[in-house]
């Protein structure tokens, strides 16, 4: 692509589907539709073969969870839902929990988030399934890092912990 048309056309493409700026300025609609929520990482999900991207940068688990998350998606009729933003980068994660007999029957997440945050949310959603609220609350950052098989630099630690604080908020909203 040429420099001229490339930059301008991409800008236009990014702006147009959202219509008027008033609509996109509310901040809320981004996650209300699955399409918009998945867009940021949709390219990463379906890629097959070839040398894996970000090799040497992140652990295999992070890259695998980022490319093929197991718990990503909407959960209609979820009893507990919470969403939060990482003020450092604007990343947004929403966690949805279906509860049954005092336990988490299913958990799903959607979000505009980086590889670390996506992987963390995916691991966490998987971990909470089958647990009571009290058990779910006991999950710590270290538990997630164990599964991710990685150390995370301090600047990226919030990417790991964001899903955890969203989980706490979701459980708070669901009652005792």
């Amino acid at each position: 692509m040429t420099a001229d048309s490339g930059a301008a056309a991409d800008f236009a493409r990014a702006v147009d589907p959202r219509g008027s700026s008033a609509g996109s300025a509310s901040g809320e609609p981004r996650l209300s539709s699955a399409g918009a929520a998945g867009a940021a990482l949709s390219g990463g999900r379906d890629r097959q073969g070839g040398e894996a991207p970000l090799r040497g940068l992140y652990s295999d688990v992070i890259r695998e969870r980022w490319r093929r998350p197991r718990r990503r998606g909407e959960l209609p009729g979820a009893a507990a839902v919470a969403e939060d933003v990482n003020p450092l980068c604007g990343d947004r994660v929403r966690l949805m929990l279906a509860l049954e007999g005092g336990r988490v029957r299913a958990a799903r997440f959607v979000g505009d988030s980086c590889a670390i945050s996506t992987a963390s949310a995916d691991v966490l959603a998987e971990m909470v399934e089958g647990r009571t609220a009290a058990e779910a609350r006991r999950i710590e950052t270290a538990d997630i890092l164990d599964v991710l098989q990685t150390d995370v630099r301090p600047t990226r630690m919030r990417c790991v912990t964001l899903p955890l604080s969203v989980l706490a908020a979701a459980l708070d909203g669901a009652g005792p």
């Binding site: 420099a3 490339g6 301008a8 991409d10 800008f11 959202r18 390219g43 940068l57 990343d91 980086c114």
Partner: protein
């Protein structure tokens, strides 16, 4: 000799090796690195002349006062201001914008309108929202066009008799767009609005002539222009400054104090309560001298060429999107981009592995990110020491990343 070849040896930090690679620092828009002249000037000040300014009747106090006030004269000349009284030292751009918004906000009433733009940094958005909340005024925003410019027709629709303030960036910290300050100020003047220009991304990168811009306030930071953190400049037109009540009280800003009242000091000290950033002013003087020695025309030419090179090189990569004015048009020393399928933080982390420092995220411009329809972008930004090879290193690392996607 190219500017980067001339200056490279002056910046000690550039000798660092990061993750096995020579540091390529492409984050000068966030904060610039410091030449030895600035670091040494501050050290010399602390080792020889440090004392409090204006109040100490001893030799060191006189030296410190002289150095501090000399910084004001130096800045005045650097930006082409008419009078030294119009140059107020702040803690930085954010501090300066808050000061203006706070002071101007007290003159606003319900129904008044504050006009900003969609491409503003949060520091030129939030202080106005605060001023509006306190006064009952309303904040409106000039839209951005598809090619990353201010929509001047939109401006015409929004600006009017109710517009009391028009605040906008000289250069966008994301798009690199250079806004036509004089044109915008003329339109504001027609309706009697006060103009406030955020010059954080302009002052370090181009020649400035405040008197030709015809604005009422112009604000920038020292640390983005090779100077130290903790100091910034608020230039204000004297006639407007004199109408404003100071918003912060303390020593230095008063002429006389009684238990129940006080009389304000003259400009500029009226707006500089407390002990000012003295060592930082000394460092700022050294930074201005350094830039003036290079020549701001030459600085702008050098960085424009780098921006042009980066736009061309990155746009040519499959899967890489470059934002802002199209190639070939004038732009500031920043180039924002994204890699399809990758979050900007992951891109920045990848580049850091290669010793390349870029900024990633929303760049404190979330309304603009929503307008672009992205969570964030990565951003490369340039300074006097940035070389064409640095830009090539960026393009090569990105090409490698894009190739495995």
């Amino acid at each position: 000799m190219r500017l980067d070849e001339l200056t490279r040896g002056d910046f000690p930090v550039l000798e660092r090796v990061i993750n096995g690679h020579r540091l390529v620092y492409l984050d000068s828009a966030a904060t610039s690195q410091k030449p030895r002249a600035v670091i040494e000037a501050m050290t010399r000040y602390y080792e020889r002349s440090h004392a409090n300014v204006h109040r100490s009747i001893h030799t060191l106090g006189e030296e410190a006062t002289e150095l501090y006030e000399a910084a004001r004269d130096r800045v005045q000349r650097f930006i082409g201001a008419g009078a030294r009284e119009e140059v107020i030292f702040t803690r930085g751009t954010t501090d300066g914008l808050n000061l203006v918004a706070d002071a101007l906000g007290r003159t606003l009433a319900p129904g008044d309108e504050i006009l900003i733009t969609e491409m503003e940094h949060h520091s030129n958005v939030v202080p106005w929202q605060m001023a509006a909340r306190r006064s009952g005024a309303v904040v409106r925003a000039v839209p951005v066009t598809a090619d990353g410019r201010l929509d001047l027709e939109g401006l015409d629709r929004l600006i009017g008799e109710r517009t009391r303030v028009f605040a906008f960036a000289h250069v966008s910290n994301v798009l690199g767009t250079i806004n036509p300050v004089a044109v915008l100020c003329r339109r504001a003047r027609r309706v009697g609005a006060v103009t406030v220009v955020d010059g954080a991304q302009a002052a370090p990168h181009m020649p400035l002539d405040i008197s030709a811009l015809d604005c009422d306030f112009y604000v920038f930071s020292g640390h983005k222009m090779l100077g130290p953190t903790g100091i910034g400049v608020l230039w204000g037109r004297r006639a407007v400054l004199e109408r404003l009540e100071p918003t912060r009280g303390g020593g230095e800003m008063i002429k006389e104090v009684w238990l129940d009242r006080a009389a304000w000091n003259d400009l500029p000290w009226r707006f500089e309560p407390g002990t000012p950033p003295i060592a930082e002013a000394v460092g700022l003087t050294a930074a201005v001298e350094y830039l003036e020695k290079l020549g701001m025309e030459r600085v702008q030419e050098h960085e424009q060429a780098l921006a042009g090179q980066a736009v061309a090189a990155l746009s040519a990569l499959d899967g890489v999107t470059v934002y802002g004015p199209r190639a070939g048009s004038e732009r500031g020393a920043v180039v924002a981009f994204s890699v399809a399928g990758l979050h900007p933080h992951d891109v920045a982390a990848w580049l850091d592995q290669h010793g390349i420092a870029v900024r990633a995220g929303h760049h404190c411009a979330q309304p603009l990110m929503r307008r672009l329809g992205v969570v964030g972008t990565s951003r490369a930004s340039f300074s006097v020491f940035t070389s064409p090879e640095d830009v090539e290193r960026l393009a090569t690392a990105l090409a490698e990343l894009a190739a495995v996607l």
